[in-house]
Amino acid sequence: MNEENLLALQEVSYTYDDELGSRVPVLKDVDLTIQKGSFVSVLGHNGSGKSTMAKLMNALLLPEGGKVLVAGMDTSQGELVWEIRRHVGMVFQNPDNQIVGATVEDDVAFGLENMGVDPAQMRQRIDEALASVGMEPYLLAQPHRLSGGQKQRVAIAGIMAMRPSVIILDEATAMLDPQGRQEVLQLVRRLNRDEGITIINITHFPEEAVYSDKVVVMNAGEVLMEGPPGDVFNQVERLKAVGLDVPFAVRLRHMLAAKGIDLPFVLHQEELVEHVCRLLLTR
């Protein structure tokens, strides 16, 4: 296996039993590699298999066919599960339902306690982790007094304390207000840039994907598209066909193009504004 590939899914398939007892394939022979230190966004509908994929990546689920490799470790090898979960941290959708501790400090300690870290070392690692998410002043706060964005940052601190290589955000911004979403995204972007943590952001907000190194589009249990955000979002019609939206700037440019106004391809809103202004000036 390539040294640079931190995570690899090799022909992974997974099936759920629905309420009627019939088997529904959720993932069909998915191949995917994720490079160390990269920021990957996974887009897709509900039921496209993106959450299942996340759970396969830290051995919460085991593949029925194929292999999931985390830093070279096969998730189906039972004795490696704890090491894999230390490597791959997960932030879930509902901020309330993933905080175990009665105070922020207790919650950050939870993962360390599970790992059997020496209590003398714990203090330092908790302080470091809280500093890395900017939540030091809340060390003794009770979780229910925090905002949604702050709770997700505490959840991320709990993972950071375990010194992971990958953080998977499983729709972690879906229940947050715009400000909370910004807080969390800025934080993970910084962790990715400064601490070299690989980030996998599973989301259905295309806007969140524009800053990533790679975008993976899931549809009906398969990887529909994979590549840099520019390449993926350029295929507006193809994304539309599976009911997925594109970032606002891309959509607007596409609509303008349909009206005969041609602009260069852009991902970010500011660039589009720039182009439109320039167009207006030169006309």
């Binding site: 830290n58 919460l60 704890w82 979960r85 230390r86 941290g89 997960m90 879930f92 509902n94 309330d96 339902n97 993933q98 905080i99 175990v100 501790g101 009665a102 105070t103 400090e105 207790d106 300690a109 939870f110 993962g111 360390l112 306690e113 599970n114 790992m115 059997g116 870290v117 020496d118 209590p119 714990m122 203090r123 908790i126 009770q142 979780p143 229910h144 709990g158 993972i159 375990m162």
Partner: protein, 265 residues
């Protein structure tokens, strides 16, 4: 409306009792409860009352908090007093009206038994008033540790308690939301007969249960994702440590036991 609830009845502070180890406080209460039942004359009761007053002073809590703890049991105490005055016979007769008498033993027992109840409630309230629920859970887990060897799931029980403590405010907020949502749909929780009002709680309880189960499922997944695998090989952030305060509590316990043993009839 349910925003500022205190969990348990813990009152934060830095007194001697606040800073003592929860284990020694728990053990002391067991001893104290035994001694309360061994006391059987004026001297022993006086010693216990004096000691409880002193402990109250040590907690540096206002008298109001301590008296409030007696509120749920005062009916029981009054009832005990009446029963003993009227029904316990023996000794000098103080009052007679037909077959009905109030006798010496009755008065004595009324005082002793109500004191017994009151002392137990006050001393255990001093524990819950000066110990945070988290510390209490941790103390219990450590004290019950040895029972783990005979198959009692001590770690699991302690974890359940601390998760319950963690989720009380969350579920309170949720209840509040559900009440508002159902009120907005025209539900009426405040009028009608008792049966009607009890029935009107069903539309609150059911959504609350459904969401509590969903939360439990999410939490279990999140715990697993963070490498939870039961109590084996687990370390703890908070190390409970005995200090001179606990030595003091132990000494007080021994002294009290000797005094009661010596003076009891």
């Amino acid at each position: 409306m349910l925003q500022n609830i205190a969990i348990g009845q813990y009152v934060p502070g830095h007194s001697f009792l606040h800073r003592a180890d929860p284990r020694s406080k728990l053990l002391f209460i067991i001893l104290f409860a035994t001694l309360v039942f061994l006391a059987n004359n004026t001297v022993t009761y006086a010693v216990l009352v004096a000691f409880t007053l002193y402990a109250g002073l040590l907690s540096r809590l206002s008298l109001g908090y301590i008296l409030k703890s007696l509120k749920p049991v005062w009916i029981l105490i009054v009832f005990t007093i009446i029963l003993h005055i009227f029904l316990t016979k023996g000794g000098a007769v103080y009052f007679q009206w037909g077959w009905f008498t109030v006798e010496e033993r009755g008065i004595q027992q009324a005082i002793f038994i109500s004191l017994r109840l009151g002392l137990l409630v006050v001393i255990s309230s001093l524990l819950t008033l000066t110990t945070s629920p988290i510390d209490l859970t941790e103390g219990l887990e450590r004290l019950l540790g040895p029972f783990g060897r005979i198959g009692v799931p001590v770690h699991e029980i302690a974890l359940m308690m601390s998760i319950a403590i963690r989720f009380i405010p969350t579920l309170m907020e949720e209840t509040d939301k559900i009440i508002k949502a159902q009120t907005a749909r025209g539900a009426n929780f405040t009028s009608g007969s008792l049966v009607k009002r009890a029935q009107s709680l069903i539309p609150i309880a059911i959504p609350l249960f459904v969401s509590a189960f969903r939360r439990a499922e999410d939490l279990a997944l999140a715990m697993e994702a963070r490498g939870y695998r039961g109590g084996v090989g687990r370390t703890r952030l908070h190390k409970l440590a005995f200090s001179w305060r606990d030595a003091g509590i132990a000494a007080a316990g021994v002294l009290l036991a000797i005094t009661i043993g010596w003076w009891r009839a």
